[in-house]
């Protein structure tokens, strides 16, 4: 126990929502007696964001500001964290499980020879000891993990808790970082071009997952239901990875985020990366042969059964209801 260092991320000049969620966890642990909260902001021309964070519960905010930090670079980022660790001597470092967090956090843990726990949805003190809760097997099981050494480096699932929205007195302290040789460099970011289906506009989406089993089953089983309902077809990532459908059909954190009036998920287990893409749909129907599939936790109506039986029967019934059969 001791100092908690929140490693914030800056996006478009502002502190990311996920970083304010880290502040929530840090404040909660501090309130339970873990220690003091400090933060680190890394970027170029981000003094304003650091000031904001200092007012939003970040405590003393160490600021690594310089042109070298204008774009994310794993080596530069890690060196800023090392400098902050030398200054603040934290026993717990918190990062978000984002493309930045999962890229740099394990390196930091290895460099500090510390305990690393990734993608936690909860961190708490129990009998004075830190315990971390995370999911394993793509959300099918929960694990309770105890760090056995310090410092502890933990990444936290975005959305695991609301952002901290209190005020607290903090201050910004400039951090000097001497950058050694960087062995990788940022070249550019780009947005993959969107073509074809824009699922974000569909009122009804029928998505198929790995459980659909074969590429030809999409036009044979999933698309007909989407057509009967006058909706669009979607998919989970493994379907796209296998080349069964192009990327524009993918729903989830690395695909499209959709909020249709009706989302039907067939043969999709409900991994968090899929759920973040569809859980805010107005109404969700899940069809899965595994009664314990996590998708049933976010669904409004659930059917435990074989999609190859349920989906065609539903397609027929919908057509009949529309007087098309």
């Amino acid at each position: 126990m001791g100092t908690i260092l929140v490693i914030a991320e800056i996006q478009n000049g502002k502190v990311r929502e996920a970083s304010l969620e880290l502040v929530s966890f840090a404040r909660r642990l501090a309130g339970a007696g873990y220690g003091e909260v400090k933060s680190l902001v890394i970027g170029s021309g981000v003094h304003g964001a650091a000031e904001e964070l200092a007012k939003q519960g970040g405590g003393e905010v160490l600021l690594a500001d310089g042109p070298a930090f204008a774009n994310y670079n794993v080596g530069a980022f890690a060196q800023a964290v090392r400098a902050a660790v030398a200054a603040a001597r934290p026993s717990l470092l918190l990062l978000s499980n984002t493309p930045v967090g999962w890229d740099v956090a394990p390196r930091i843990a290895a460099a500090l020879d510390g305990a690393f726990v990734s993608d936690c949805f909860n961190l708490e003190l129990e009998g004075g000891k830190l315990v971390c809760h995370r999911r394993v097997f793509n959300g099918k099981l929960d694990a309770r993990v105890a760090p056995l050494a310090e410092p502890v480096v933990a990444t936290v699932q975005p959305g695991a808790t609301p952002a901290f929205n209190g005020t607290a007195d903090g201050k910004v302290t400039k951090l000097e970082v001497s950058l050694g040789e960087l062995k990788s460099k940022f070249v550019a970011t780009r947005i993959a071009e969107k073509k074809g289906v824009d699922l974000s506009k569909a009122e009804i989406i029928v998505s198929g997952g790995r459980g659909v089993g074969a590429p030809e089953k999409f036009p044979e089983v999933i698309q007909p239901l989407a057509d009967a309902l006058g909706g669009a077809m979607g998919a989970s990532r493994p379907v796209v990875d296998a080349g069964w459908l192009p990327h524009e059909y993918q729903v989830g954190s690395s695909g499209q985020v959709v909020t249709p009036k009706l989302y039907i998920a067939a043969g999709i287990s409900g991994a968090i990366q899929h759920l973040v893409g569809m859980k805010n749909s107005n109404f969700i129907i899940a069809i899965n042969k595994d009664a314990d599939a996590p998708i049933f936790e976010v669904a409004n109506l659930g059917v435990v059964g074989d999609l190859f039986e349920i989906v065609p029967a539903l397609t027929k019934a919908v057509k009949e209801a529309k007087g098309q059969a």
Partner: protein, 261 residues
């Protein structure tokens, strides 16, 4: 061009997940195993890189019990040249940092130009070992890799960010790439490949062979899984049961109620 590919063998994606008696992991007896999905993509990318270079060697490395031999054979059948199996109960008990230390010892001995790992494993979902291994070796790394191009000794890769954004990164070699699924279409082992694999070597190493006795394993771990359990059930969905006709009838009336039919 020497390429090292880290392969983890994990429970088959459709395996039954029952918590074992001590409550700290799943029951692994009598279930099927397979190569971690992310790692099949890493292996494929390595094989393509070797082919493009026209020469070189692809070495697959796995830490795990006897059963891992089968995954290594599969990898050799797909075209890997050589396999190293870290076979030692102490190694099996290692946490992510311990695994990274074992793989680092092998990488130091082999000096590969490029190391491929998966972004994460399908069982523990830790997404830790790759970047840790790179840090221990002092080489650059990047994660969620969706495209790899070689130019002037360096590698230019695309990594996946959120919501369809990509980041282009250039890395000096040697480097480590933790690949995302879908980066390529993975080949199957051909019959010819499987026959040829029978003659390819699988070397074994113990923790002591790697100079890490006492430094890796249960006693050296920095994290411990105390318990695993199915997630607590929330309110959950209203479950519709009964014969298919009734189930479908209920769904249709709900869709009508929503004003969508």
């Amino acid at each position: 061009m020497k390429i090292m590919v880290c392969l983890k063998q994990v429970p088959h994606q459709d395996a039954r997940l029952d918590v074992r008696a001590d409550g700290t992991w799943i029951q692994e007896d009598n279930i099927k195993f397979e190569i971690n999905s992310y790692d099949t993509y890493g292996l494929e990318e390595a094989l393509r890189m070797k082919d493009a270079a026209g020469s070189g060697e692809v070495i697959v490395v796995s830490i795990g019990p006897d059963r891992v031999t089968q995954s290594l054979r599969t990898a050799l059948g797909m075209g890997a040249d050589r396999a190293i199996h870290v076979k030692d109960p102490e190694a099996d008990a290692a946490d992510a940092l311990g695994s990274a230390k074992l793989l680092a010892a092998i990488a130091k001995a082999e000096s590969p130009d490029v190391i491929f790992t998966g972004l994460m494993s399908d069982d523990g979902n830790a997404a830790s070992v790759g970047p840790m291994l790179a840090e221990l070796l002092g080489i650059p790394s990047t994660t969620s890799v969706m495209k790899v191009e070689k130019a002037n000794g360096a590698l230019t890769v695309e990594r996946e960010l959120e919501g369809g954004a990509l980041e282009v990164v250039e890395l000096q070699r040697p480097c480590l790439l933790a690949v995302q699924t879908g980066i390529n279409q993975v080949r199957y082992a051909s019959l010819k490949g499987i026959m040829a694999a029978k003659k390819k070597p699988i070397e074994t190493r113990s923790v002591a062979d790697l100079g890490l006795a006492g430094k890796v394993g249960a006693a050296a771990n920095k994290v411990k899984i105390e318990k695993i359990a199915p997630p607590p059930k929330g309110k959950g969905a209203e479950m519709v049961t009964g014969p298919t006709a009734d189930v479908v009838g209920r769904l249709v009336s709900k869709i009508k109620e929503l004003g969508l039919l």
